[in-house]
Amino acid sequence: MSSTILLQHTLTGISLGGAYALIAIGYTMVYGILRLINFAHGDIFMMAGYFMIFAMASMPWFIAIPLVMILTVMLGIAVEQVAYKPLRSAPRMSIMISAIGVSYLLQNLATYLFTALPRGYPEIPYLKKILHIGDVSASLVTIITPFLTVALTFLLIALINHTKLGMAMRAVSRDYETSQLMGIKINRVISATFAIGSLLAFIGSLLYFTDRMTVFPFSGTLPGLKCFVAAVLGGIGSIPGAVVGGFILGIGETVLVAMGYSTFSDAFTFAILIVMLLFRPTGLFGEKVTDKV
């Protein structure tokens, strides 16, 4: 393989990894605060894709993007309010099952409303513009994605470490009742967590679908699973972990495709999951599992 081709694939891999990282953050944050694997997260990502298709059909991109961003955030908050909040004091398994239910509900709703046929994702001006750097050519979105991901990650970490909301999120993730005793409205903090996760899922969907070009009702399933694996790989609950995990999976997958093993590119993700769970279940950056009492 020539170095140009290698560079080309690495660039694609980093870009895919960036999108994965943004989605993986949503899994890791919700897990951190609710100890819940939010199976619906991948489907919220899918819905964001559809919202964008319909918004772009009737309005310019600079209105469509903020509008769809708000819609996706509202969907994320609504899922929490309807499916998870009533189960706050129920056993963790119940809320997990509720999450799986929401996931199927969104997929079936999408199939019913939009049919199972893939729809073309709109082209957002500029994003698809091809740039040439030496012999390597890449679309603008490929180049933007990793930078945007890293910038958003730093912003998010600053929010968590240096704002009142961030402090409340860390407190609630450790101890609900004591957080309440401090006067923290835990439901608001949980809503904020879902809002942030959904916002990042929307940005991830923008980057991912611009590259993949189509959306169908099960578009969220495989990326969702992979991003969950990315979160586990990085150590679920850890934001830098989710980002690193996302990049590892994105690059690994693309390199396999480039080497001609595209049939194994999905298997790669799950092989990593199994190896990780066997040898380092807390992930690369995970803290020791401290189960809530």
Binding site: M167, D175, E177, M182, I184
Partner: protein, 240 residues
């Protein structure tokens, strides 16, 4: 000292599913006093405090604070009214720094925290030295001080403490009780739950004895200290 009532509990019942944890108790907490609630394991002491704080729902009865009914209010509303609870087992946020733990105590307030922090550091100089350390790395005694400091940050009128002496060495226990006296003298009313009946009765103006959800005895601290039944059951002393 006035006899003005700050908190009045009337016929309070609390159930956890089928378990009757508190079976119709009435308690008066006059302003500026130290009131203590003693009783053995499972008597319902923590449940009473957690119900006042709003994290457990009452089945029936009334809890009146400065003329306002607390039952039905959310924990954040209750904190805003000036009631704070130092929970059993300290429950500091181990993943936050000491300073953050103190700041989060004033979560509901928007004012500048410098003076309040200064006041807490004055009471607990140790905490100033450890401000940047994660709370999880503190010793048990330091964590208890942090839990008390954190509660004071909300500028409470009523400070409730659930077994602050639990698991601490006698010297630290003495420190904690000294602090309770100090903050009380500064005008904070204290409702103290203790298994360490001896110490608690010594500093209390008035005391209630809780037994499996009912109040079995009440009186001034000195009266109960002298009572045969109390001496036998809670102070580990035999009849001579």
């Amino acid at each position: 000292m006035s006899n003005e009532r700050l908190l009045t509990i009337e016929d309070l019942r609390v159930d956890y599913g089928g378990i009757h944890a508190v079976k119709g108790i009435s308690i008066d907490v006059p302003k500026d006093r130290i009131i203590t609630l003693i009783g053995s394991n499972g008597a319902g002491k923590s449940t009473t405090l957690r119900t006042i704080a709003g994290v457990v729902k009452a089945t029936s009865g009334s809890i009146c604070f400065e003329g306002n009914e607390l039952i039905g209010k959310t924990p954040d509303e209750i904190v805003s009214m000036g009631i704070t609870l130092v929970p059993e087992g300290r429950r500091v946020f181990e993943n936050l720094t000491v300073l953050e733990n103190l700041k989060i105590g004033a979560f509901i307030h928007k004012y500048k925290l410098d003076d309040d922090l200064e006041r807490v550091y004055h009471l607990f100089p140790r905490l100033r030295e450890r401000a940047w350390q994660l709370a999880g790395t503190l010793s048990g005694g330091e964590q208890q001080m942090l839990a008390v400091g954190r509660a004071l940050m909300s500028r409470p009128k009523l400070l409730m403490m659930d077994e602050p002496s639990l698991g601490l060495a006698p010297l630290i226990v003495k420190d904690i009780f000294d602090i309770i006296r100090t903050v009380n003298r500064e005008g904070i009313t204290v409702l103290l739950v203790e298994q360490n009946a001896n110490q608690a009765l010594k500093i209390a103006d008035y005391a209630y004895v809780l037994e499996t959800g009912d109040i079995s005895m009440q009186g001034s601290g000195n009266e109960l200290l002298a009572d045969e039944r109390i001496r036998e059951a809670y102070l580990g002393k035999r009849k001579e």
